[in-house]
């Protein structure tokens, strides 16, 4: 019902915007439809209004999935003053189409280059900042700490240790890695981490921005490492038939021991019956020695559409959104990590580990399907899935991906 009201509100605001915008009013469009994000937004807006009573906030909350289509419509037809979106290449089409406003000055005048340092690169296109990040979460390997203890396995720090641990688990009748690839994207996490660890962040970014062919031997090297896990059957069988949540019960029942996932998986694991002590978190191990450790941390952001009516006040809002206090409070509700490195540390065990890991990260990738062009991402992840089923077909798969790359990045 609230959504219905929000849309009615949108229609109404469209009428108002058409005639004259109120001085001191900003319209925010966002996709915080799930309960926790919705609460976080409500608190954020209330706190902002308390601090800036002269500015009225009008918030249109969209359905999370529908928003991806909606933003394409409202940015051209009826731009709000602030819009939620994602960092990295996901914002590139809108920046390219001139639909987002340059907010470099907001960063410069609020010291954000230092405080939001970890996300600076992913908010920059052509040397210009296009938005403000407010939350992200870590990816890494979640494992059954109790099974590791039983089998006498220490959390692996290197590739060799990871292989040894996998072999040991497999011998004990436990599938080392849970995964469900029906929705494709879980394969992206594996590719990201293997590429980040084998070739490093710079190469990963060059590849995902289409500057390196998929037939490059360095890409092939990534799949050779991956094959060392696929070949011996270290992933769940039938992974292509199930979603990521379907694989969780295998872990809960002790039939699988590790899961490369985003932090949101912890909640599902706990719902499935695992206690906090049974779950461990580790950084993805080193592969090529000496390569600085970069991480996947999908970042959510706010932007000012170039067609916004009240850009002055929208910038005030972005500056508030970037502040340590606002980010700490919002992320406590979201159960995610503040981007601002001055923000208070979260109390949750896994978030704390993630905060430390990401604050010290060499750089952050956004995730394969956000860093790569959408069409490339789809073809790429299909290729990864096919590789996990038919590892011997890798040359053919890479040739196909190269063909798509050549087409997409003309």
């Amino acid at each position: 019902m609230t959504k219905f009201k929000a849309l009615a509100g949108l229609a109404l605001s469209a009428l108002l915007m058409g005639s004259a915008a109120f001085a001191g009013e900003i319209v925010i469009n966002s996709d915080h439809s799930d309960p926790a994000p919705k609460k976080a937004m409500e608190e954020l807006i209330a706190d902002f209004q308390a601090k800036h009573p002269d500015i009225t906030v009008k918030w249109n909350n969209f359905d999370h999935e529908g928003y991806k289509a909606a933003i394409r419509n409202f940015l051209t037809a009826d731009p709000p003053d602030v819009a939620a979106w994602y960092a990295g290449n996901r914002m590139a089409p809108f920046v390219g189409a001139g639909l987002f406003e340059d907010v470099t000055d907001v960063w410069a005048s609020n010291g954000l280059d230092e405080q939001l340092k970890s996300s600076a690169a992913s908010m920059t296109i052509d040397g210009t900042k296009w938005g403000v990040p407010y939350t992200y979460y870590q990816w890494g390997i979640y494992y059954r700490a109790d099974i590791f203890a039983e089998q006498g396995i220490a959390p692996p720090k290197t590739w060799a240790e990871l292989l040894a641990a996998s072999e040991k688990l497999k011998a004990a009748g436990i599938t080392p890695f849970a995964i469900g690839t029906k929705a494709l994207w879980p394969t992206g996490g594996w590719f990201d981490y293997l590429n980040l660890r084998v070739n490093g962040y710079e190469f990963h970014m060059e590849l995902t921005s289409g500057k390196v062919p998929y037939t490059d031997p360095r890409v092939k090297a990534v799949f050779e490492k991956w094959a060392e896990l696929v070949g011996p059957g270290y992933f769940l069988e039938n992974h292509a038939a199930i979603d990521w949540q379907d694989a969780i019960p295998q872990m809960v029942q002790g039939k699988a021991a590790m899961y490369l996932m985003g932090n949101f998986a912890v909640a599902t694991m706990k719902d499935g019956g695992l206690t906090e002590d049974q779950i461990g978190f580790m950084q993805f191990p080193e592969i090529t020695p000496g390569i600085p450790m970069a991480e996947d941390a999908p970042t959510d952001t706010f932007h000012i559409p170039s067609g916004a009516k009240n850009k002055e006040d929208a910038k005030v809002f972005l500056a508030y959104l970037a502040s340590p206090e606002a980010q700490a409070k919002m992320n406590a509700t979201l159960g995610q990590l503040p981007v601002n490195n001055q923000a208070a540390k979260p109390s949750d065990k896994f978030l704390d580990a993630g905060f430390t890991m990401l604050s010290n990260a060499y750089a952050l990738a956004q995730f394969y399907d956000r860093d790569a062009d959408a069409e490339m991402a789809k073809a790429g992840m299909e290729g990864f899935q096919e590789f996990m089923v038919k590892p011997d077909q890798i040359d053919r798969i890479l040739e196909r991906l190269e063909k798509v790359r050549a087409k997409v990045y003309k």
Binding site: E65, N73, D246
Partner: protein
């Protein structure tokens, strides 16, 4: 009659047939029965791996949970908001077009008729981008009205084919004699032909109801948020949330399938008459 009536066969064959009927039906409906049973299985059964055994109890709770924890009731309401106006609109328009094409021998008659018929068979995809764009620009994107207008227009093709053939089968002499009497064309339609079209209207209403209720493609193309989403698209998005919760998916499926199923059983004769139009000579 073909095949030879079983009554003329040997007693053994007769009994065999009577036994085979329910067995064949059970096999035919296995996917349905499986889902129906799953929809009544307590969640604890599924968690414990009891997928096929006797359910430990009948969990009508699953149905309650579907209505309580998901907007499926709202989706169903949306489906009615799309389906009912579409039925009225498409049937009304096609009464007019069908009458025009059946009664008047103007030159373009057959070509107009074939355009309606052919349009009925084209792939939806060829309409998708322009119709979505048009709906968007008219401000009807993401509304039930946008869906209704498209469905009316598209279903009019099929309905016109149906109505035109039906009216062709009526005695033309009725119309002729009325014209001789000087009755206006509108009154001929309204007072002479329309009352005779009741069975066709009933059959078409049931069919269009089912077609539109079950539409999924346009529901995903012309609607994005849950406030206007019909139950087919809604069920799909719920399926995304209920991963691994098959007792809920099953219950939701049954709920979504129920209205057209009821419609079918209540109006069976009309339904089949509509569907099999043209399957016999005439």
């Amino acid at each position: 009659m073909f095949p030879t009536p079983i009554q003329k066969a040997s007693p053994a064959a007769r009994i065999g047939y009577q036994v085979l009927l329910p067995v064949a039906l059970m096999i035919w409906l296995i996917p349905l029965i499986g889902v129906a049973v799953t929809s009544l299985r307590p969640a604890s059964d599924l968690a414990a791996g009891n997928y096929f055994g006797i359910p430990s109890g009948l969990a009508f709770e699953n149905y309650a949970a579907v209505f309580r924890d998901s907007p499926i009731g709202w989706y169903i309401l949306n489906s009615f908001k799309v389906t009912v106006p579409t039925v009225i609109g498409a049937v009304a328009l096609s009464c007019l077009t069908g009458f025009a094409l059946a009664v008047y021998g103007f030159r373009a008659n057959l070509w107009v008729f074939f355009a309606f018929v052919a349009g009925n068979f084209i792939p939806f995809q060829i309409l998708m981008v322009p119709v979505r764009d048009m709906t968007l620009r008219a401000g009807m994107y993401d509304t039930t009205l946008g869906l209704v207008l498209f469905h009316i227009a598209f279903q009019t093709g099929f309905c016109t084919l149906f109505m035109r053939n039906f009216i062709k089968g009526l005695p033309f002499a009725l119309i002729e004699s009325a014209r001789v009497e000087g009755v206006s064309e509108w009154r001929i339609f309204r007072h002479i032909v329309l009352p005779l079209m009741r069975p066709a209207i009933a059959a078409l209403s049931v069919l269009v109801f089912t077609f539109v209720w079950n539409d999924y493609f346009w529901a995903t193309v012309l609607v994005q948020g849950q406030h206007a989403m019909p139950v087919t698209a809604g069920l799909y998005s719920l399926n995304g949330q209920w991963v691994a919760a098959w007792h809920l998916v099953s219950a939701g499926s049954i709920v979504a399938a129920l209205p057209p199923v009821l419609m079918f059983f209540l109006m069976q004769r009309h339904f089949i008459a509509g569907l099999t139009l043209g399957a016999t000579k005439g």
